[in-house]
Amino acid sequence: MAAEMEPPPLGDAGQTDFREIEDGEGFFVSTVTILESPEPSSPDPPSMPAEGISTNGPKQEDISLDDDPEDLFAEATEEVSLDSPEREPILSDGPSPAITPVTPTAMLTPRMGLGTAEMFERSLDEVSSWVKLTSMTIFSKNETTVRRRFSDFLGLHSKLASRYLHIGYIVPPAPEKSIVGMTKVKVGKEDLSSAEFVEKRRSALERYLMRTVKHPILLKDPDVMMFLESSELPRAVSTQALSGAGILRMVNKAADAVNKMTIKMNESDAWFEEKHQQFENLDLQLRKLHASVECLVCHRKELSVNTASFAKSAAMLGNSEDHTALSRALSQLAEVEEKIDQLHQDQAYADFYLFSELLGDYVRLITAVKGVFDHRMKTWSKWQDTQLLLQKKREAESKLQFANKPDKLQQAQDEIKELEGKVQQGEKDFELISKTIRKEVSRFEKERVKDFKVVIIKYLESLVQTQQQLIKYWEAFLPEAKAIA
């Protein structure tokens, strides 16, 4: 059993490259390099140098392929291209939860970056937002770059959800569409809010993809492979919000909600009862926390704006003050406050991208978890219904025994045989989904613990940095204030 590998010091180690997009097309450009490295039990354990992350190209290790994809060892790097001299996508490597390996084998740490760019209209009904993924296939060492639209991500999720959710796998939910945000960008509004929107979306897509590829089962899915590798993807039309498929989805969701209320399950397994309650509680508290953190982000942004405004005002006051030393001190105060306003803004970014987005992700993830529990209930219900049907058919059959209708009797017996098979299958399905859920929940909890621990520490470190800066600024100001004579 391979020991847990030391995770590569990702995140801060990587450089992000800024390239101009020459061809004038606006699109998300990001590169994901998924490198393969041999599993830990191989004779030459890879050293996983941090510097290797930001560059391209594989390392000196051999690629030893294993049949079990769970041994896939990967490490990804990122390059980010920015069109406009905007603020760096803050913490482009930060919020990625996949910093440490889940198991010794699967270690995927892509850091994708989606550069800010102007969106261009490819077709009338959708704005293209391309994501360039550089991925390496399992069999080759080349770096390939692929472009993906936002709807491609949604399409991927939709396929995975339809394939895996109902058998108990927790499929990470994709980021939500935002008509307002997209329209602003579409219209070409070059202001701060549209840049922020693009960055927010980029970050969300990155985290989504990360969570998906970290799942050992989902990674094996051919659609995921295709998503990461193939140069052209068929357009995912059914992801449009107001399409026919979209409406159908909404109807199904409503129907599900109603059904859930009518199923009364005899829970024989205390574990599920307990876990279900736990997730309900967690959901409630996380939502509350998320709301509070969103408030904090808002107030901090407000504080930044108000501090900047005060700084200007203090500068004006310093100008009109006719005592020279005091005038100078007031100007210095204005400068300090200006720097502090920047500090508040940076902190608000950290509040948001580290803390708030994590909470938002987990609120959505827990919805997926609850969905999986619901599917188990449905599976149970189906099994029970089949059993009831079988019982009825048996009763009918025994009645037919006394009536003299050999055809009908045969038919009934055939039906019973079929139903018996179905009941067996139903029971198997139920047991399988229960087993899968147990595994999934255990994996989910491990992930959750790790994610939160990492993010909490990162967030606290951002707070530390802010305070250190504050101290620097005020220490520089104090002698100026004392110099007033």
């Binding site: 736990q278 509680n281 967690l282 508290q285 996380l286 509350k288 926390l289 509070s292 953190v293 408030c295 904090l296 107030h299 901090r300 407000e302 504080l303 108000n306 501090t307 405004s309 005060f310 200007k312 005002s313 203090a314 004006m316 006051l317 100008n319 009109s320 003050e321 006719d322 005592h323 030393a325 005091l326 001190a329 007031l330 105060l333 909890e445 959750r448 613990v449 939160f452 621990k453 909490i456 520490i457 606290l460 470190e461 707070l463 530390v464 305070q467 250190q468 504050l470 101290i471 005020w474 220490e475 100001f477 104090l478 204030a481 004392k482 007033i484």
Partner: protein, 393 residues
């Protein structure tokens, strides 16, 4: 309500033993505040060396207005009147909290109640400080401290029966102000021969406006700061609940961070409070003082115009050879008045600058020192928490 507090002085004042005034106690009743004004004096005018009386806000205003209306004091900067105690906002919040008691947990309720009570206390302390500063300014002024009304205010231990202005009087005041500002514009237009006063006029006008702007901007900034601190409070509570509910490893993290945020948010709240005290209050005070200085300049300007008009009238009278004596006396009176005001005004304005510079220096230094102290405290808490958590992973 007895309490212990350091003298919050926005103004650097010389206190000497001949007359010391302070507010030793204050009581907040339903809709008024009762200040206990305590005097220590070696002056012969007073019956005792040490005595106290109880005064309310209206009586302070009466005293201030009596100075303003006194022609003798036209050449001085009248210390600005303290603002009316305003607990409405705070009281409203406490009331809302009482109404919403059912919708929150006991801990949350107790916490919020403590918050609001602290806020109420802070406002209370501020209003006491502002009333005290007014009295101290008067006591420190070489001429005003001798004022009869002031002595009555300090010593007379009965109610001064100063009623608030009724509607008619308020209307009169309003019209007086309108006339005054119109007049002020006229007077300000007159160019002063004296460079010193001309400079002061330009300076004060601009300064006053900019202080006003800075004051309101600083208020807004501090309010945002308080809101952020409140958010951290709520986050701390929810983290605590999460920590107690969670059965995994991460519950330790939640509990530790919750504890940390409880402490850091107290510091953040203190930062906002200190900024309020050292920065916002300073600016508010100098807004009022600069207005008082402007008023002095206006009075001098008015006297100058009167003097010039009297000169013109005298010339006319001499030309017509009619009522010359009358015109001469009138002109002399105006001249004396103008010169008297000019002389004391110059000194007052110089003192104003000295006081202002000293007050800003003191407050800015204290502000920086407090900001540093709090940032360092915050940093230490954060770093130790990060250390513990990193050790745990």
């Amino acid at each position: 309500m007895l309490f212990d507090r350091p003298r919050a002085v926005n103004v650097d004042l010389q206190t000497d033993a001949t007359l010391q005034v302070d507010i030793s106690d204050a009581l907040s009743e339903r809709d008024k505040v009762k200040f206990t004004v305590h005097t220590k004096s070696t002056l012969p005018n007073f019956k005792q060396n040490e005595f106290s009386v109880v005064r309310q806000h209206e009586e302070f205003i009466w005293l201030h207005d009596s100075f303003v209306e006194n022609e003798e004091y036209a050449g001085y900067i009248i210390p600005p009147a303290p603002p009316r105690p305003d607990f409405d906002a705070s009281r409203e919040k406490l009331q809302k909290l009482g109404e919403g008691e059912g919708s929150m947990t006991k801990e949350e309720f107790t916490k919020m109640k403590q918050e609001l009570e602290a806020e109420y206390l802070a406002i209370f302390k501020k209003t006491v400080a502002m009333h005290e500063v007014f009295l101290c300014r008067v006591a420190a002024h070489p001429v005003l401290r001798k004022d009869m009304n002031f002595h009555v205010f300090l010593e007379y231990n009965q109610d001064l029966s100063v009623r608030g202005k009724n509607k008619r009087e308020k209307m009169e005041d309003f019209f007086k102000n309108v006339v005054k500002s119109a007049d002020g514009v006229l007077v300000a237009g007159v160019k002063d021969v004296d460079d010193f006063f001309e400079h002061e006029k330009t300076f004060l006008l601009e300064y006053h406006n900019r202080v006003k702007d800075a004051s309101s901007k600083s208020d807004r900034m501090i309010r945002s700061h308080k809101s952020a601190a409140d958010d951290i409070n709520r986050i701390a509570s929810t983290l605590y609940t999460l920590g107690t509910q969670d059965s995994t490893d991460v519950c330790k993290f939640f509990l530790k961070v919750s504890e940390l945020f409880e402490k850091t948010r107290k510091i953040e709240a203190r930062v906002a409070a200190d900024e309020d005290l050292k920065l916002a209050d300073l600016l508010k005070y100098y807004l009022r003082e600069s207005q008082a200085a402007k008023d002095l300049l206006y009075r001098r300007g008015r006297a100058l115009v009167d003097y010039e008009n009297a000169n013109k009238a005298l010339d006319k009278a001499r030309a017509k050879n009619k009522d010359v004596l009358q015109a001469e006396t009138s002109q002399q009176v105006c001249c004396q008045k103008f010169e008297k005001i000019s002389e004391s005004a110059k000194q007052e304005l110089i003192d104003f600058k000295t006081r202002r510079v000293a007050a800003f220096r003191k407050n800015l230094v204290e502000l920086a020192e407090l900001e540093l102290k709090h940032a360092k405290g915050n940093l230490q808490l954060l770093q130790s928490c990060v250390g513990v958590l990193k050790g745990d992973t």
